[in-house]
Symmetry: C2
Subunit: 596 residues, 2 copies
């Protein structure tokens, strides 16, 4: 059976020492998240993930979700009870506005909670995840009436939420969508169409499901400019707010997926279902982007979460599994063999995963904090800078954390040898579950295009320039310290590669967009590596300072070693990404489609 222990020590290091979030006590909700409150929340979240969700993870994979002939869907044994516990703990409203029943605490806390949930049980974590995304869209674009009607019940977990974008013939290119909406005399709409890949589309956890649905109003313009967002409850809602009869929306089937079997991924059929417009007519894409940005950060966190739990299990196995002897001579001569953690290749594997996990978690906290600032700061300049940061980093975070997160589950599985391929150990489930995160909420190729095509050039490159300036200033400030040189020198080199790549794109991709497209994925990965390098340099500095101040905690030493491993083994990849970007699109675009 797989194990999981929430990385509380690392979270506290980031919150208290690296990002010192008490600095933001002037922002709404932050002063409520005092160190004591944070400790309690993190501790309870850890406990819930470890004790309630993790034991249900394999059950969820084995049982999956079952659709009955009448369209009802049963979730795996224990999921419904766990969801009840989860909502009773108030977790769904942790960062939601107090006026709708939430606690108003920083989203940063919620993101860390999400990491724990997902590590313990990714399929389960998606149910509240989708609900939070739907609430976010309603809170930003819904009418006051809609907010009051839906959000409190969603926070309570009585009602859950979904996002309905994809149709069989249209995924990335939503302009093609066909689901139609016909306006009724009472101001409502009749929605008809088929949506696929709808996570948590139907289940037995809540009395109602609030579907947010993209559809085209009769007579609307073609393409993305004619798409509107609707809220369509599974069951109608009576005037007094109680739940009424069925509403022309049903689960046609459950998709047969590679993983996340515990989540019901549905084909949803809308047949004259009654829905209400959210936001303005034909402005559905903008409203949906609110959900998607929230969701993309959350999906990035999933990549980290799967890498973390896979790492923990690989470490446990590597310490226990006796096989062979250390290359330098037996370490445990009294035993029949040494534990495989003595082998450099096993350690290299583990450190590769760990160096990612800790940098990725730092990036999540850093970015989530900027999100809180963007939404809560009273200072417009501060809000704008934070919003720039979020826009720029969201595709990087989603793409890099899920690509590497998945790759790391594969590495961790490899530590188990043949046992990693056997279901009982749970490693292969991590691989299958983690795989989806590279795909949904926009494939990672789409994230890369969003980065180079939209986020990078926006406002004359203001967001990227701000990051280059910040990281460059940090490197300059600490470059003379002997202790920091092993971290800062590679960071400076890597940052130089990123700046060269950016310059190359500016000079070569404006007139030839294929040059941007061909280099997009490499640019995203290069960007992620530099961000990680910057995170590691900061973490190393804080660890050195704490050690110098007399703190002898072993994790501080581990931080310094893991950071050095990152600088020696992982950051040098920036040079290859740069070379690929600079090779341009000519070769990539040369062959006709039929020659492939």
């Amino acid at each position: 059976m797989p194990i999981y222990k929430a990385p509380v020590e690392d979270v506290n290091f980031l919150f208290n020492d690296v990002f010192q979030i008490d600095r933001y006590n002037n922002l709404p909700g932050f002063s409520d998240a005092s160190p004591d409150v944070r400790d309690a929340i993190i501790g309870e979240a850890a406990k819930f993930a470890e004790e309630v969700l993790q034991p249900l993870n394999r059950v969820g994979d084995l049982e999956g979700c079952v659709r009955h002939d009448d369209g009802r869907v049963t979730t795996p044994k224990g999921f419904s009870e766990a969801f009840r516990q989860y909502t009773e703990g108030g977790w769904l409203g942790l960062s939601a506005p107090a006026e709708y029943g939430g606690q108003g605490l920083p989203v940063t806390l919620t993101q860390i909670m999400s990491e724990f949930l997902t590590s313990a049980n990714m399929a389960f974590g998606m149910y509240p995840g989708l609900t939070k995304g739907a609430m976010a869209a309603l809170l930003v674009h819904g009418s006051e009436e809609q907010k009051k009607l839906f959000v409190p019940r969603m926070i309570a977990g009585d009602w859950t939420g979904t996002m309905n974008l994809t149709e069989p013939h249209c995924g990335t290119d939503l302009g093609l969508l066909r689901t139609r909406a016909v306006k009724q005399a009472d101001g409502s709409y009749k929605i008809t169409g088929t949506k696929i890949f709808i996570s948590a589309g139907e289940h037995d956890m809540a009395e109602n499901i609030i579907h947010l649905v993209l559809a085209r109003i009769e007579g609307a313009p073609a393409g993305v400019k004619g798409i509107s967002l609707f809220v369509v409850p599974k069951r109608t809602i009576n005037a007094d707010g109680s739940v009424g009869g069925p509403n022309g929306v049903s689960c046609g089937s459950i998709e047969h997926k590679m993983g996340i079997h515990g989540n019901s991924t549905c084909v949803m059929n809308y047949d004259d279902a009654t829905g209400w417009l959210v936001g303005a007519e034909n402005k559905g894409m903008a409203a949906m982007f609110v959900m998607m940005n929230e969701a993309r950060l959350g999906v990035g966190v999933q990549g980290l979460a799967m890498s973390e739990v896979a790492y923990q299990n690989a470490v446990a196995y590597a310490r226990e599994r006796l096989q062979g002897r250390a290359l330098t001579g037996a370490k445990d001569p009294d035993k029949p063999a040494d534990p495989i953690i003595v082998h450099p290749d096993v350690r290299r594997t583990l450190l590769t995963i760990r160096a990612f996990n800790e940098a990725a978690r730092a990036m999540v906290v850093w970015t989530a904090l900027k999100g809180d600032i963007a939404h809560r700061s009273a200072d417009e300049k501060e809000r704008q800078a934070a919003d720039d940061h979020m826009g720029l980093m969201t595709p990087v975070l989603k793409g890099v954390l899920t690509d590497s997160g998945f790759a790391n589950t594969v590495l961790a599985q490899q530590v188990f040898g043949g046992h990693g391929y056997i279901a009982e150990h749970g490693m292969e489930q991590f691989v299958r579950d983690a795989r989806i995160a590279m795909i949904y909420e926009g494939t990672n190729g789409i994230q890369a295009l969003d980065l180079v095509g939209r986020k990078l050039p926006r406002d004359g490159g203001r967001a990227a320039m701000a990051f280059f300036a910040e990281a460059g200033a940090y490197a300059k400030a600490h470059g003379d310290s002997d202790a920091m040189k092993p971290y800062v020198a590679p960071l400076s080199t890597a940052l130089g590669h990123l700046q060269q790549a950016t310059m190359w794109l500016m000079q070569n991709a404006m007139g030839k967009p294929d040059n941007a497209g061909a280099g997009a994925t490499d640019y995203m990965k290069l960007f992620g590596l530099v961000v990680f390098g910057y995170m590691w340099a900061q973490m190393a500095k804080v660890a050195q300072d704490k050690i110098a101040a007399g703190d002898a905690a072993p994790y501080l030493k581990a931080k310094l070693v893991t950071g050095r491993f990152f600088m020696e083994h992982m950051l040098p990849e920036t040079s290859v990404h740069l070379a690929r970007i600079q090779s341009g699109a000519a070769t990539t675009m040369e062959l006709p489609a039929e020659a492939f």
Copy 2:
């Protein structure tokens, strides 16, 4: 439903143009493989894979193998009939010696046949694959009586074979194995113990199963020096060669695996089963290595095969799926969207897979040919050089082809977006199936250690020096040609990196084996890239010559473009591998086990 078309054109290009295998007509069996015969064999193999095996691939995944209460195992519907057709086609004996019923044709042909089989149906391909491995061990180490008794019936497919190495507590470290053998008065042995992960361990395809089993004879030395190899038939064999009653060996359970569900991977219980020694007492490891080297090449081919079929399906999808518009403007303005193959990022993905596939296939043919030469040449020096090559390249081929082969199934799956995660499209099965190849027959970490610890230093580095000289001479011979520069210049750089890495290991790893261990995987990958670069340079040269001679076949142009893509996008990774190797083991080994 996934598609598959055997890459006959590419195989012919390698056989006829790049490696010109008719040059070897002086070797036994090669003159029988005349161009006409080769064409017929390749054509029939392709047809069998495409028409018989491929349609059974998804059935095999869905149904899996079923163990009944009495220990019998039923394979998926259609597998048994397909195996009958396969054996009746004479495929099992294609390269086996004529004196035992084989056709004596080059193993090179068999390896290409294996690629086709595996692309079509990896789980099926393992049944004949294991039988061929078992035959190989019997042919080299068995007594004449054993060869005559077993091999003809195995070629006929009446009896199949298995390899029994792994036990619950021992995989890589076979010295720990506990299965014991007790000598009987008649010269036979009673074998008792439990083996796990036994592919094709029990099934309904043949009247008998010939298990090759590693066990320890009572009183034998501890460790690997006390291991012997035994042949243990599932059912006893009467004096007249007919099959008798059961023989104390049974399938205890079928493992629950991530993939290759159509192959019955068994826990095998030996309970006083009667077996006979193969080769000398306590020399079982040497005998087993014959099977393992054969098997390792075969597993490398599996990596290629899965990458090839995944590529073909990704290309088909990318040509059909309409989504979005080309960055440079609509290519199919009459349609609602362009096919996604217009996007540079999709093409980059496809070319990454294709550039691997074609280089890997060249490496397979090159190495398999050396294997044929090593076994069949009359010239001792030629045999030795070929054997050096095989020894050196086997771990590289196994490790690199299965690592990249798996990674490429993931890339190909990504081209499908959300549909790639859904079982019906078949892409996720390729990922799950391909994953095992990185693990079995020695994990890829073990391949890397075999390379740096054993194959590289053997005979003073003779094999590696021969490769460096050959590739270096090639680069020198063609470096002045303008047409060849885009291929030869990157090859020379990469070869330089490999030579520097080799030098570094010689200088730094002799006294500090951890430096070899920490750099082993990078060295293996670096080696593989340089081999691929050498393959691409040769293929480009041949393609250029054919084009210059007036051949206008489109695949020649595609070769040149794909080769350039390899040089621009993939070969530059050698610099990172070199940097990692040169960073040494200090950081990797610094943390105590409990700090992970």
